[in-house]
């Protein structure tokens, strides 16, 4: 379709590959040993997930503001990417947590909020799936996207009051990060790699959604054409294919 060379996929794969290779070369942690290397995948996955949910919020607000379908597509694509990476982050975190903490799961604010995001956006995707009309779907999911996002910090805050066992943020903390500089560099490479991968996935989903809508339009137009202008296609009650 486009003859121009697409830079994003090879770049994303190259950086991710370098990141994984560096993760194997990087020195093991003094206390946790090689287990700590899960960090190079776990942290970027969580980061992409949060980023994607912020994009969903932006898409939702954008749609409510401009009412243009591309904002809705952005919100939907970002929610899909976010749910995937949240699931990945939770699974990797559990695999990391079992040998290190002795538990698969701990009731820490960050963990609970991440799990909550997973379920909230599964609900978001389910809501999209069961709504057929396109603008109705966009409106409902945009409102839910905004309301859910308002509630997430409240949940996080309420869980923080439980006093936490999870380590405090290592990098996103004022002052000098308490992580070895080689490790930090490897982590940063992995963050960039994952961000590129996430952007690639997001773009693919975004385009696919646009193509799906075109396909729906084309099918609807073809149906009308076949039946002629004087006859309308039969409609099931309660289903609207005309909007």
């Amino acid at each position: 379709m486009k003859p121009r060379f697409d830079l994003l996929p090879p770049l994303a794969m190259a950086v991710a590959a370098v990141g994984v290779a560096l993760a194997f070369i990087a020195p093991p942690d003094r206390v946790q040993g090689n287990l700590q290397k899960l960090m190079y995948v776990h942290v970027p996955a969580a980061w992409i997930a949060y980023l994607a949910f912020v994009l969903t919020l932006i898409g939702s607000i954008g749609w409510l503001w401009r009412r243009e379908p591309r904002w809705d597509r952005l919100a939907a694509a970002a929610a899909e990417v976010g749910v995937f990476f949240t699931g990945l982050a939770i699974a990797l975190g559990a695999i990391w947590g079992k040998p290190v903490w002795g538990v698969w799961w701990t009731w820490d604010a960050r963990l609970v909020t991440t799990a909550l995001l997973f379920f909230v956006y599964l609900g978001y995707l389910a809501l999209r799936r069961v709504t057929e009309d396109r603008s109705d779907r966009a409106r409902r999911s945009a409102v839910f996207g905004v309301v859910a996002f308002i509630q997430v910090p409240v949940v996080h805050f309420s869980v923080i009051w439980w006093r936490t066992l999870h380590q405090p943020p290592t990098v996103l903390r004022p002052g000098d990060p308490t992580i070895d500089h080689t490790m930090l560099a490897v982590l940063l490479v992995n963050l960039v790699g994952f961000t590129l991968l996430g952007a690639w996935m997001l773009r693919q989903r975004f385009r696919l959604l646009a193509q799906l809508e075109d396909l729906e339009d084309a099918l609807a137009a073809r149906d009308l054409e076949l039946a002629g202008h004087s006859i309308e296609t039969p409609k099931l009650e309660g289903r609207r294919s005309d909007v």
Binding site: P27, D29, M39, G102, T164, T170, T178
Partner: protein
């Protein structure tokens, strides 16, 4: 409907309440685990067998493993509580590390059946020691 007449006071109230909750130091008495000092202080008033969580530093040289039981002392440098933990401790469990155990007083010992290890937030390659860890192990 004038939403603003209702919405603006409500937003204001939310901001005031949220600020008060976050910065009002209300969370000081929301205890998720007791420190050894608090646990010893509460011991007399507590009913026997009341479960709670106890958190502190595992004292150097206090860890004794006997079969299914691990004995050690949790301390916060002011008070120390002898703990008997039944079960397999997590891999990282060692003297000098922070741990939270769940259980109840039985006599002068704390009988625990669940343990969490609070691992340090520093990631360091072997051989190097960071200042924070030196302080944690006096």
């Amino acid at each position: 409907m004038r939403y603003r007449m209702v919405a603006i006071p409500a937003i204001g109230a939310v901001l005031v309440l949220a600020g008060y909750l976050v910065f009002g130091n209300l969370n000081q008495n929301l205890v998720y685990f007791l420190t050894p000092t608090e646990a010893v202080a509460q011991k007399s008033s507590e009913q026997a067998g009341e479960r709670f969580r106890l958190g502190g530093q595992v004292e150097e040289g206090s860890v004794v493993r006997t079969g299914a039981e691990t004995r050690f002392t949790l301390t916060d440098n002011k008070a120390a509580v002898p703990v008997r933990f039944e079960g397999v401790p997590p891999q990282l469990f060692a003297a000098g590390i922070g741990a939270v155990v769940e259980g109840a007083w039985r006599g002068d010992s704390f009988y625990a059946d669940t343990m969490f290890v609070k691992h340090e937030e520093e990631y360091q390659p072997p051989g190097e020691t960071s200042g924070a860890n030196d302080k944690a192990a006096p």
